[in-house]
Symmetry: C2
Subunit: 701 residues, 2 copies
């Protein structure tokens, strides 16, 4: 990646003072202080913007590390091939007009992909490029970040125009600096995952922020997360694409319950990527992480404000963000009582009232007491950093200085932040700078600030969880050359191989075999049609429950065959399955959905109305461990049913957890072959009695 991320020499193809695009790329190189060789390429000129100009890449004194293509899309494939021939190792393609622009565009895109396959590092097309802010190297086709402030945050954005919206406010208002700014466009060559992989290892980068429209190789994300975890580098992502996309038309039920966006979301969440849902939140989270990522956070929040209104608002915001207000301990209460007048109540969140303005010693005394409070994980001071106006008053500057003092002497670690009641954008940087020097990130608005803190707390929790180790394979999952819908008994064998119990079943091909099977398995019996052509067995009259006698089994067998023949005359009938009636339990549904990029995803939900009416399911990408499976159950709105709601006995949640993990193992083992799988219903029996799959539909590719 070096020729792209830290090039020693750069050629600008199509260089001309009259082409705004090429001139900007050239001027940017000078402006950032690039120390390597700069080669404008244009047969028409001897010199461009003070640099000696060359007729072709081949004519440069030595092959450039990187070429910038400031030419229209139509010429790009040919010119880029020549540059590759001439020894250029990396390229930045600025123009649009590739994959998104009809058939010709797609052909151009494929030409780039082919060059990338030969080893050329292609950034773009339709992007601004790569800025290495510390080395002052790279290539940039847009306006430079203003101010140009090197720092510890790497920004990766497919969209070029979005980069400045992130760097400029953060650098100017909160002195957040950047290690890299990368606009990677349509990823014809180097993919988002390649950049992430590089940035995680970059020594100047401590925080990675991404604005991503689509991943190309999401299977690499867990591995990247593992390295990021080892190096304690958070990755915060604004991933768009949650809006209505056609959900895959799937044969299986769970298939329709999980869209592509949900699968991507599960993958990211599971692997510690911090997700945000707006540019505003992205910037706020970056501001927090850039200063505070290594300070221990948590869910117990303390708030101190001079405004009763703020104290009320922040309570709602904390609830929405999942943070809570612990009660203060006795000694803190006494310290606060000593520092504030009677009409202030010593509680959390704490309203210091106008007293913090009227009595100069009140704020520092209270602040010190709160920084000592052991029940608080994250202490947030409400200082709205309004720029001084008419009156010239800026009381928050005094408070910031007090806080900086208090931080020097505070007895314990733990995240401390300051925040404004709302987003002002234009902050009093004098206040913000003093706080930042003291290790206190300044956040805008309670709502955004607390969401960012919750994201940090969740990430720090994830850091403590061991990376899911390679589990011992519980099953082999050999399938031979089968394809399409697997016969039930085959699916049963496979589930059992992976440790998921399935109801005893016999396939009967005649009335006599059915009665024999029922005699053996016990009454009452259940009979079900077995046919690869009948997926909705009940609708086809293919299921009979509670057959209490041999007589009833005979009736049921004939009835099923007749119904199915009437309902689906051309269906191939393989026989009738005979099973014993199962006992009482909670109906669950487990499934596997295959995503073309991510691979298998495990879907879990309560059966019946929960899955069908409420779409109440949770999702994980296997392999995962029991902790994740427990979380999957915890995420279900109807989870109380498993705990024994409505007079039922508590269900065997432990066995369910194991079954979910094992279904994940099965999905991994069969990844190449499995198209979809439904275990529906999986009966969760009372505690200590396990689970029992009553039906399964397994579709191979």
């Amino acid at each position: 990646m070096q020729p792209l991320m830290n090039p020693r020499s750069v050629a600008v193809i199509g260089a001309s003072e009259r082409s705004a695009r090429s001139a900007r790329a050239l001027r940017n190189l000078t402006a950032i202080g690039f120390q390597g060789d700069i080669y404008p390429i244009n047969p028409k000129y001897e010199e461009v913007l003070g640099h000696r100009c060359y007729p072709s890449v081949a004519a440069t004194p030595s092959p450039p590390d990187l070429v910038i293509l400031a030419i229209p899309a139509a010429s790009v494939p040919e010119v880029l091939a020549e540059a590759h021939e001439a020894g250029a190792k990396a390229a930045l393609v600025l123009a649009a007009g590739f994959g998104e622009a009809g058939e010709e565009g797609r052909a151009r895109h494929q030409a780039l992909t082919a060059l990338a396959a030969k080893g050329m590092l292609i950034c773009g097309p339709n992007c601004y490029g790569v800025l290495n802010m510390h080395a002052r190297a790279g290539s940039w086709g847009g306006e430079l970040p203003t101010p140009f402030l090197p720092g510890n945050v790497a920004l990766l954005s497919q969209s070029g125009g979005t980069c400045g919206l992130i760097t400029n406010p953060l650098a100017s208002q909160r002195k957040v600096g950047f290690s890299y700014v990368v606009s990677c466009g349509n990823q014809a060559g180097v993919a988002v995952e390649d950049y992430l992989n590089y940035l995680v290892e970059d020594p100047n980068t401590e925080v990675i922020a991404g604005f991503v429209e689509g991943f190309r190789q999401p299977k690499r994300l867990p591995g990247i997360a593992e390295r990021a975890k080892a190096l304690h580098k958070p990755i915060v992502l604004l991933k768009i694409g949650r809006s209505p996309e056609a959900r895959q038309n799937a044969l299986t039920h769970t298939g329709s319950l999980a869209g592509d966006a949900e699968i991507m979301d599960a993958l990211l969440r599971q692997h510690g990527y911090i997700q945000v849902h707006s540019l505003d939140d992205l910037n706020e989270t970056i501001a927090l992480l850039a200063v505070g990522k290594d300070q221990p956070a948590g869910w117990r929040l303390g708030v101190f404000s001079g405004s009763g209104g703020e104290v009320g608002r922040v309570s709602d915001a904390a609830q929405d963000a999942g943070l809570r207000f612990p009660p203060l301990s006795g000694s803190t209460i006494r310290d606060i009582e000593a520092a504030l007048p009677d009409f202030a109540s010593p509680q959390n969140p704490l309203d210091g009232t106008g007293a913090i303005y009227d009595y100069p010693e009140a704020f520092p005394r209270v602040a010190e007491a709160l920084l000592r409070e052991p029940n608080i994980d994250v202490m947030a001071f409400n200082l709205t950093a309004l720029q001084p106006h008419g009156s010239g008053r800026a009381p928050q500057r005094g408070f910031a200085a007090h806080l900086a003092n208090a931080m020097a002497g505070r007895p314990r670690r733990g995240l401390v932040v300051a925040y404004g009641s709302l987003t002002l954008g234009a902050l009093d940087t004098e206040t913000v700078d003093v706080l930042r020097e003291a290790g206190i990130p300044y956040l805008e608005s309670a709502e955004k600030g607390l969401r960012a803190i919750a994201g940090l707390a969740r990430w720090q929790e994830w850091l403590k969880v061991p990376f899911p180790s390679q589990r011992e394979r519980v099953g082999e999952g050999r399938l031979g050359t089968a394809s399409g819908i697997l016969p039930f008994l085959e699916a049963k064998r496979l589930l059992e191989e992976f440790g998921i119990p399935v109801v005893p079943s016999r396939l009967a091909r005649s009335v006599a075999e059915a009665v024999e099977a029922a005699n053996e398995l016990g009454y009452p019996a259940v009979l079900k049609i077995e046919s690869p052509d009948v997926l909705h067995k009940t609708d086809a009259g293919g299921v009979r429950l509670g057959c209490a006698s041999a007589e009833a089994v005979r009736d049921a067998y004939d009835g099923i065959i007749a119904s199915v023949n009437a309902h689906a005359p051309s269906a191939r009938i393989d026989g009738v399955l005979v099973q014993p009636m199962a006992g009482a339990g909670v109906e669950f549904i487990l499934g596997v959905k295959h995503d073309p990029l991510v691979g298998p995803a495990v879907v879990a939900g309560l059966g019946g109305i929960f899955a069908e009416v409420l779409k109440d399911v949770s999702l994980r990408i296997p392999p995962f461990d029991e902790r994740e499976a427990e979380d999957m159950i915890e995420e279900l709105r109807g989870k109380a049913l498993l705990r024994g709601a409505r007079g039922r006995p508590p269900a065997d949640v432990k066995a369910l957890t194991q079954a979910i993990v094992r279904l994940g193992e099965l999905a991994v083992a069969l990844e190449g072959q499995l198209a979809a799988l439904d275990v529906n219903p999986l009966l969760v029996l009372p505690e200590g009695q396990g689970v029992l799959a009553l039906d399964a539909l397994l579709q191979l590719r």
Copy 2:
């Protein structure tokens, strides 16, 4: 309200150049250009800040309309009583230390309440007061809004410190002006509802914005809304207090399903109050309403941006806000194709690509085409109003000028907005001003902007709905002097009086009576204990279903009496209810909860796990009409069950709707007496067959 909202003379009690609070109040009067008489009151001085000072309110040349009390809380009651004696009609109490400060504070609060009862208009305590921005009158204890910009928005905030956070950014960045700024504090006298009532009628006020911690007289809110609707004045509220409050411990089931916050929320939503959940969103909504409230909005959104990244983000934001992107019509597509290069796709949301910067005619041509598009209700142009930096470029100024031109010639009405991709706070006001002049509100961030638009669209829909007319009373609801738990047959009579069918029931006091009742009502029969002391009948063994014969009824009767005697030996047993078994239907739960301030609230939800496990209920304040009842059903997550999910026939939603409306009528008729009511279950029978209440628990006060 005139002496408070537009005083002709103001006295400042406790005036002194050494008291910051009184000096600020005095200086503010001069600073705003107050033309009335100003009387500093202090026996120690002849003159304060250039005004002649008086020893007491009684000594002023004429009784002042308003007195400002810039003195500590402890002296307030006595001094205020004197001022009232001396003829002052209104008062502003700045100090804290009343209701929130222990027993002494509460006594002071009561002293204020008593004076208010005598007709004095008391603003506060613990507040900044009232600023009449157009008349340049009133009284203000805090820093004045900067800039001081009279306009069409009235701001009402209990918290004083919050006022500046709303007025200052809006006035300075977006030229939003204010008619009134009111900080009303603890409402010892004049309540939030009084101010709202006044502001709705104020001719200078077109939009009302409130930051409210608690309503004192919420029953007045529907009436205020009715006037606001007639005058087309939107009221936007940030109401805090959603965080965990102890939910009322209620005897009835529905009681525990609806907290105080939910009841308040229902009342506001039902009556067209626009609710927001952060200061950021409050400001954004004010910015929209101040310019665009009378422009027709709607749910079909058009977006035009120069950034592909923005187009992706705004799609997610629109989905979250409930807005949708209609397809463009053929002629618009042709116009766009003619104006943009091939690589731009003519779709909605529209990415104009870099072409809008490269081709000067592209933006205006596309903008005009989009403003003509009939499928679009609200057209949003993405122009991030960055202040020009280093390069001095500010392309959005050119775009703003184009838009202003296009607006002059546009063929149809409809809301047009411009918005930035994220919150910058410090905007390029040159851009914003041009847009505003052209009737285009400028909004910050897609997420906040689209939420504000959705709020406006919902409000405009509400404007079209007739105010619920006084319905003909369907029942009398006479209850006599009953109290406590009403006997079932009494509750049945009452429900039936209001048109809610209840299962036929007889009270049997012996086995023989039970058999006689069953013979008459038909088999199978249901038997249930009737006792004011047994509320959970099933738990006490007090219910037997499906008694198929006289024999079974006998068994059931004896069994019930024995079980209940064993389970609750001291329970008074009034007999056993005999009912016929009901047919199949969807179990629903309907209830009434009484809120001490709001009055009765009707709670509706699907029975079983939906209510018990998922808390899936909706809420309205009666009286309401069938449209609201339909919305209540629509809000339920499990509503698909009523439409015939899982192989059931569609349920009689029409009859359910009527039953909900009628329960509302009953709740209104019995308001003085009803503590709580559960109809659980209400069986919703298949279409055309109505509903049937199977049980009811009615508790009187």
